[in-house]
């Protein structure tokens, strides 16, 4: 099966925040909840861990 080449998209600050917000909404967690779990080295489940990975390098979508 032919597979298209992998792509790289460049996100603006606003797009990154929106994308992080979408990831959080889909997971049901807030940024602060995940940050707290990360601080305690204790994620609820793999979904939480994967979502933290998605948003940690962006920061809270709600922050200035």
């Amino acid at each position: 099966m032919a597979v298209m080449a992998s792509e790289v998209v460049e996100l603006t600050r606003a797009e990154a925040r929106a994308a992080a917000r979408n990831a959080l909404e889909a997971s049901g967690y807030t940024f602060d909840e995940l940050a707290h779990q990360a601080e305690r080295n204790d994620f609820d489940d793999l979904c939480a861990r994967m979502t933290w990975e998605a948003v940690r390098y962006v920061g809270s979508p709600e922050s200035a």
């Binding site: 099966m1 597979v3 298209m4 080449a5 992998s6 792509e7 790289v8 998209v9 460049e10 996100l11 603006t12 600050r13 797009e15 990154a16 929106a18 994308a19 992080a20 979408n22 990831a23 889909a26 997971s27 080295n41 204790d42 489940d45 793999l46 979904c47 861990r49 994967m50 979502t51 990975e53 998605a54 948003v55 390098y57 962006v58």
Partner: protein, 216 residues
């Protein structure tokens, strides 16, 4: 690195991973990458301009008629200290039974520079009476809360290791030629790790080369 150089390396990273997966335990998948304004690059299935989550990958060819199995896979890259290449700053490779990652079996986690537990570690969702007895003295947490050391930075558990585990333990039926594809990918990873180690410790590399017979 210039942005186009970052994109080129990220694209290559995603392509190599996609090729490995499609040659072993997945079919027709294409991993994508997103470059963040902070300089980090996220890589995984389904990552795009609108969502930074990496989706679990459905594994093909489950043995018998067992429950569906998914491979969770995500990497975050940034430039190395010399600003010459991308390096993995964190990754998660594991398995779960659902497309959301809420029914986990295990995962190998890597967080570069993480304090208070091994930066490369395994977490296994399992239990036994013996572990329960031990953990009763530690707040009664289940085994999955423990971070079992897994090789350290250079020799951490890789996606190749997890794929090999799934095949060897007869949890998936791989594509023909899977072992060769896995071997090539593993050799590539080992070479990249070796090159990174040489860049970080050139005096050791020079010393080793000095002691070797001259190569024509």
């Amino acid at each position: 690195m210039e942005p186009h150089e970052v994109d080129e390396e990220a694209r290559g990273f995603a392509r190599r991973l996609s090729d490995l997966l499609n040659a072993t335990v997945c079919t027709g998948l294409r991993l994508t990458a997103a470059r963040l304004p902070t300089g980090y690059v996220r890589i995984g299935l389904g990552i795009n301009r609108h969502d930074l989550r990496a989706r679990p990958l459905p594994l093909q060819g489950r043995v018998g008629h067992g429950v569906p199995l998914y491979l969770t896979l995500t990497y975050t890259l940034s430039q190395d200290d010399q600003g010459e290449h991308l390096m993995v700053v964190s990754s998660v490779v594991g398995t779960c039974l659902d497309p959301d990652g809420r029914r986990e079996l295990f995962h190998a986690d890597y967080e570069r520079g993480k304090a208070n537990y091994p930066e490369a570690h395994l977490q296994v969702c399992a239990s036994s009476d013996d572990w329960d007895a031990v953990m009763a003295d530690r707040d009664g947490d289940p085994l999955k809360k423990l971070h079992l050391p897994a090789g350290g930075r250079r020799y951490r558990t890789t996606v190749e290791d997890v794929i090999e585990f799934l095949v060897f333990e007869r949890l998936v039926c791989p594509h023909d030629g899977w072992a060769e594809a896995l071997g090539r990918s593993r050799d590539d990873f080992a070479e990249r790790q070796l090159r990174a180690a040489v860049r970080r410790h050139p005096e050791i590399a020079r010393d080793v080369l000095r002691r070797l017979p001259a190569v024509e």
